[in-house]
């Protein structure tokens, strides 16, 4: 069985935000909710790098561990999903998540949190695949259609990879090899900062 993963190649990400808007487009995510976002470090300085972040669908997912109503579940492909019917919007998962993935629509006048929303790896939720109910709550279910997450499929530079961990690791490995050895190798400057 495949183990679904995201992999972000920071040597390629140019912070174009296609992943962000592709996600909005595919799932009709409303203003203020960002299932995916791009973070830039060392902005405007040598060494500037960007990474696209969303739910990483952890193996030992902290959100699952802390959820008081146990609304999370994991698919056979290793995708972490949740039930919005069970979710009580408590925000525990937000504290637990190291990536800031859980999002909460502000539903009322007092900034009260609504049901948690996050990246589904384009795999919908517990409802019947591609039903209207599923679309309303979680957006499209591309996995059920035999497709991969749209953010990665539309990435402008193919920096964001999504799919079977084995396959995308292979693609990434090929790139690293291509980039060469010695001072051309990826990560060389990190390992040997003096530039030797």
């Amino acid at each position: 069985m495949a183990r679904m993963k995201f992999l972000l190649d920071a040597e390629r990400c140019i912070e174009c935000n296609a992943c962000v808007t592709a996600c909005k487009n595919e799932h009709e995510v409303p203003w203020g909710i960002n299932r995916r976002r791009v973070v830039t470090i060392n902005d405007g300085k040598p060494g500037e790098r960007s990474i696209s972040m969303a739910c990483m669908h952890c193996t030992d997912a902290p959100c699952m561990a802390v959820c008081p109503v146990d609304c999370f579940y994991k698919t056979a492909d290793g995708i972490v999903l949740h039930s919005k019917d069970l979710c009580i919007g408590c925000g525990y998962c937000f504290y637990a998540c190291p990536f800031g993935a859980p999002q909460y629509p502000q539903a009322g006048n007092f900034g009260s949190r609504g049901k948690m929303d996050k990246c589904t790896f384009c795999a919908g939720g517990p409802e019947q695949d591609n039903s209207e109910a599923e679309f309303r709550k979680y957006g499209r279910n591309r996995i059920a259609e035999g497709k991969l997450p749209l953010c990665a499929e539309m990435c402008s530079t193919k920096a964001l990879l999504a799919g079977d961990g084995e396959v995308i690791a292979g693609i990434y490995r090929d790139r690293v090899v291509n980039r060469g050895y010695g001072s051309g190798a990826w990560g060389w400057a990190t390992a040997y900062p003096s530039g030797t």
């Binding site: 174009c16 962000v20 500037e48």
Partner: protein, 961 residues
């Protein structure tokens, strides 16, 4: 803890916090914008957005048991890379977007704009109906009323002031068919006052490169960059302007190619470069000569290439000798050692490609800049080879096509110019008499005189009448797909907009034109459809044509541009003549017919072989084309290059495969090979302008030769290869002087066919010109900007004397003579954001994009910010040196810009010198995000050849608001 509210959208996540720590506490742009989004502006926008969008899609989701899902292909409307957009459509509703893996250009990829393009089908902020300004408010009117009232007013102006008093400003957003029709429309109206965005985008490139090599276009393609061993980018930031193009650059980089980025800013592209050369804005020529100095000094140039294929390199050597490392550093600020390293990298990594964009072209001396880059490529022998070339990335999705279609004041379609011969050629194609065309104009002289360029239309309104070389002022202004905030001198534009009798905006959005002027009446807004709502071809930056299919029917009351042109032509009384060869369904001209007509006439640049049938076949078989060579390896298009990149010689039946790389002699002409064009004569001052022993593979003339004419064919004895019909056509066109009929005027395309049969390029085989004697600076010279920061350098490198150009006086020296540097100490430049495009009305109306960039800002170096007393995210006033112009924006303090340099994006509008104009938009059609336009404070300055505006080097003062 759970009872405590958390502002989720503020980015208060662990990761973001941790990463802010990593970057030393400085704020990155994203955090900056996200945080500033919490401020009032962002919340207003958010609350203005109901969840309507969600509901709309729910009812249309395929699960709702609708109909069959149809996949329809069109082309992204946001930049010139030409990404295919694949739409899932059910019952006419665009419900989803799939990646277009088959396209050799984008391989499924999109940037933020392409990935959110489906929002156009929602179009909540679109201009929905024809509207008219009545007593200061926009009121809905019918199409009939709009066309009638506009037409009557135009005819009245024509009667009193002549046809030149109406300015037709076209668009790089039009399809080829619409752009061609628009140029034809202006001709039938009787004026050359017609232009479009190319004027302020790459006009200097088209003129400069065209006069150097023969054609003013990108020579190779993004895909061909895979073959480059080095990439030299100057004034180009594809990470924001052409993100999908970066995929191809990174592919080359991973194959070992070196990436060199020359830019005053440390751009997002520079972040991925091997070498970033930070230089002072406006010193491109000095920088290139500084690099060439090392090359010539060490003898690294390609001497054989220069001897055989280049004219005038010796003149260049004399100028370059002056640019010692010391002098170059004094002018550009770049250390000699770095430039020596760059020169060595270029020597060791050939072929290298040269890439430039608007950082290079938007200067008052930009024709010099672009020619200097060409000279660098020529000196190193990298022009006309795969992996080399000048890969000039165009801006809008069809700015290449609209330029080719001659939506310009200086030429008819396909660069024929405005000579009598050109008019006769097109009259022949259009099936009208030459005398009829003359009768449409004020006189024959104005018919052959270039019109006013788009960059200066408002000077045609404001300049004293005695200074104008036309009968009267511009009195009616037609903005047909053009944002006014992309032009400099905002206050002068406002004044002109208030002075004209009539303003018409034809656009999917109201644009800033609707709100900038303080008028009570005299503005009409007509809703145009986007390219997603119609059929037609568009030309990508690499000269490939792609056919897009209608994804959804025009929404609300929008109409496609060609239909609006027909309606107006009918009202103005020339529709019958204008649409002689073009079928009109009801009131909608058929795009395929328009393309067929332009195919017939556009021989000069080989826009003649791309019939609608061939283009559609290419779209249907995208997957057959190689991702690097662009050549189809199997299927019905086998042997052809994707999108038949022009020149695609002859007509469709001649089956030319298109030309993937210009001037590449390693291929036969019939397979897409070429040589430099012999467009400048055979000799100049005793020196030959024809190539010396260089020729395309398989050519029967193995040396330089002039362009083909009927006479030349006869001399060679090749005229016997012409068919009877071809001969008859040529003799009919030529009349008494048939021998002089050149390949580009021969409507049988027989001369082209025979030349190629013998392996020769129809346009002759000449040398590239390093020395362009017909330009103000034959050898490109460094000239200081008009608003110059350093008086000593002005003394040594002054600008031009004031002169006249394009029916108007133009100032140089009289501006540069004044010292503004004391009151305006910071150099101001401008550029792109990835989320927005052009004037931004379209993209700022798209919530998926608008959410990502909610505020106009100015990038200020920390040292300058400290001196001014400004902190990150403070509101500041930016003052410009003309018209007491000032704008209120947020400060983004960052090392991205160097000391003494500030940068602003140019996509914003809707605020005017501190005032929010939201209430002036037609109800419900205001973009989600508004902001000040950088061009409100941008200043005077026009290229000495093309009147390109100067947006990249001026001066400003920043104060805390």
């Amino acid at each position: 803890m759970l009872t405590k509210r958390t502002k989720i959208a503020s980015g208060g996540t662990r990761l973001a916090k941790a990463l802010i720590g990593v970057s030393g506490g400085a704020m990155d742009r994203r955090t900056f914008l996200r945080r500033s989004g919490i401020a009032a502006g962002g919340m207003t926008a958010a609350s203005a957005l109901p969840f309507g969008m969600v509901q709309k899609a729910e009812s249309a989701t395929p699960a709702a048991g609708a109909g069959e899902v149809k996949l329809i292909k069109n082309i992204c409307t946001h930049c010139s890379v030409g990404c295919t957009v694949t739409a899932e459509v059910v019952n006419g509703v665009w419900i989803g977007q799939e990646p277009s893996f088959d396209s050799p250009f984008n391989l499924g990829a999109h940037c933020a704009k392409g990935a959110s393009i489906r929002e156009h089908a929602h179009g909540e902020r679109r201009l929905k109906y024809p509207m008219k300004l009545v007593n200061g408010r926009y009121e809905r009117i019918s199409w009939d009323q709009a066309i009638n009232e506009i037409g009557d007013k135009l005819l009245e102006i024509r009667e009193k002031s002549g046809p030149d008093s109406v300015y037709w400003l076209g668009s790089a957003k039009h399809s080829n068919e619409q752009a061609y029709l628009f140029r034809k429309f202006a001709a039938f109206w009787g004026t050359n006052n017609v232009d479009h965005q190319a004027r302020i985008c790459h006009s200097t490139t088209v003129a400069g490169v065209g006069q150097t090599f023969g054609y003013g276009a990108m020579t190779n393609s993004l895909n061909d960059i895979h073959n480059a061993r080095a990439m030299f980018l100057i004034g180009s930031n594809p990470a924001e302007a052409h993100p999908v193009g970066v995929m191809h650059l990174l592919k080359a980089k991973e194959n070992g190619a070196k990436l060199i980025v020359c830019d005053p800013r440390f751009t997002r592209t520079a972040a991925h470069a091997d070498e970033h050369v930070r230089f002072r804005p406006g010193t491109d020529v000095a920088l290139i000569w500084g690099i060439l100095w090392h090359i010539f000094e060490n003898g690294w140039e390609d001497k054989e290439y220069i001897a055989r294929r280049v004219y005038g390199m010796d003149e260049i050597r004399k100028e370059v000798a002056k640019w010692t490392p010391e002098e170059t550093e004094r002018v550009t600020g770049v250390p000699g050692e770095q430039l020596r390293r760059v020169a060595r990298t270029l020597r060791d990594n050939r072929p290298f490609t040269i890439v430039w964009c608007m950082g290079a072209t938007q200067h008052h001396q930009a024709n010099n800049n672009v020619r200097a880059y060409c000279v660098l490529g020529l000196a190193m022998g990298t022009i006309g080879v795969s992996g080399g070339g000048t890969n000039i990335l165009r801006g809008h999705d069809n700015v290449q096509g609209a330029t080719d279609m001659g939506v310009e004041p200086v030429t008819l379609p396909a660069y024929y110019g405005l000579t009598e011969a050109a008019w006769r050629h097109w009259a022949r194609v259009w099936g009208v008499s030459y005398d009829y065309m003359v009768s449409r104009f004020k006189d024959k002289k104005l018919m052959e005189t270039p019109g006013i360029p788009e960059s200066r239309w408002f000077d045609g309104v404001l300049e004293a009448k005695e200074n104008l070389e036309q009968p009267d002022h511009v009195r009616a202004m037609i903005f047909w797909g053009h944002a006014p905030n992309s032009q400099t001198r905002g206050p002068d534009i406002k004044k002109a907009m208030e002075k004209v009798d009539l303003m018409v905006v034809v656009d999917p959005y109201p644009t800033a034109s609707a709100v900038i002027p303080d008028r009570k009446e005299g503005i009409y807004l007509l809703p145009a459809a986007t390219q997603l709502e119609t059929d037609g071809s568009r030309t990508a930056t690499n000269r490939s044509l792609q056919w897009g299919y209608q994804i959804f029917k025009p929404i609300f009351e929008a109409k496609p541009d060609h239909e609006i042109m027909y309606l107006l032509a009918r009202k103005l009384g020339f529709a019958d003549e204008m649409f002689k060869n073009i079928k009109v369904n009801g009131t909608v001209p058929v795009p395929e017919d328009i393309l067929r007509e332009l195919n017939r006439g556009a021989l000069t640049i080989g826009y003649s072989g791309q019939s609608p049938e061939r283009l559609k076949l290419h779209m249907a078989h995208q997957k057959d084309f190689d991702r690097t060579t662009l050549k189809a390896t199997s299927g019905p298009c086998a042997g052809e290059y994707y999108g038949l990149p022009w020149p695609c010689w002859g007509y469709a039946q001649h089956k030319h495969p298109g030309t993937p790389n210009l001037y590449d002699t390693s291929k036969e002409v019939r397979d897409g090979g070429l040589n430099f064009r012999a467009a400048f004569g055979v000799e100049y001052k005793g020196q030959s302008l024809l190539a010396d022993g260089v020729y395309p593979k398989g050519a029967e003339i193995q040396d330089g030769h002039p362009q083909f004419t009927y006479g030349l064919l006869k001399k060679l004895g090749w005229d016997k290869d012409l068919t009877e019909e071809e001969r008859r056509t040529i003799e009919e066109i030529g009349g008494d002087n048939a021998d002089a009929v050149a390949w580009s005027y021969d409507l049988s395309a027989g001369i082209i066919r025979v030349a190629i049969k013998h392996g020769c390029a129809p346009f002759g085989n000449g040398r590239a010109r390093a020395h362009v004697w017909n330009f103000p600076d034959p050898v490109p010279l460094h000239r200081e900007p008009l608003y110059a920061p350093d008086r000593q350098l002005v003394a040594k490198y002054p600008t031009y004397a004031d002169k006249r150009q394009y029916r108007l006086p133009v100032l140089y020296k009289s501006i540069q003579d004044k010292d503004f540097s004391k009151d305006f100490p910071i150099i101001l430049t401008s550029g792109r954001l990835v989320e927005y495009e052009g004037g931004g009305d379209e993209t700022r109306s798209n919530p998926w994009l608008a959410e990502l960039q909610q505020h106009m800002f100015i990038e200020v170096n920390p040292a300058d910010a400290k001196r001014i007393g400004v902190k990150n995210m403070d509101d500041v006033w930016v003052f410009g040196p003309e018209n007491n112009a000032k704008i209120r924006v947020k400060a983004l303090v960052t090392e991205r810009v160097g000391r003494g340099v500030a940068w602003m994006p140019f996509h914003f509008a809707g605020h005017w010198m501190g005032k929010d104009l939201r209430s002036k938009y037609p109800q419900g059609a205001d973009p989600i995000v508004l902001g000040e336009s950088t061009n409100t404070v941008q200043t005077y300055g026009y290229d000495s050849v093309t009147a390109m505006q100067e947006t990249k080097t001026t001066l400003c003062r920043i104060e805390k608001a």
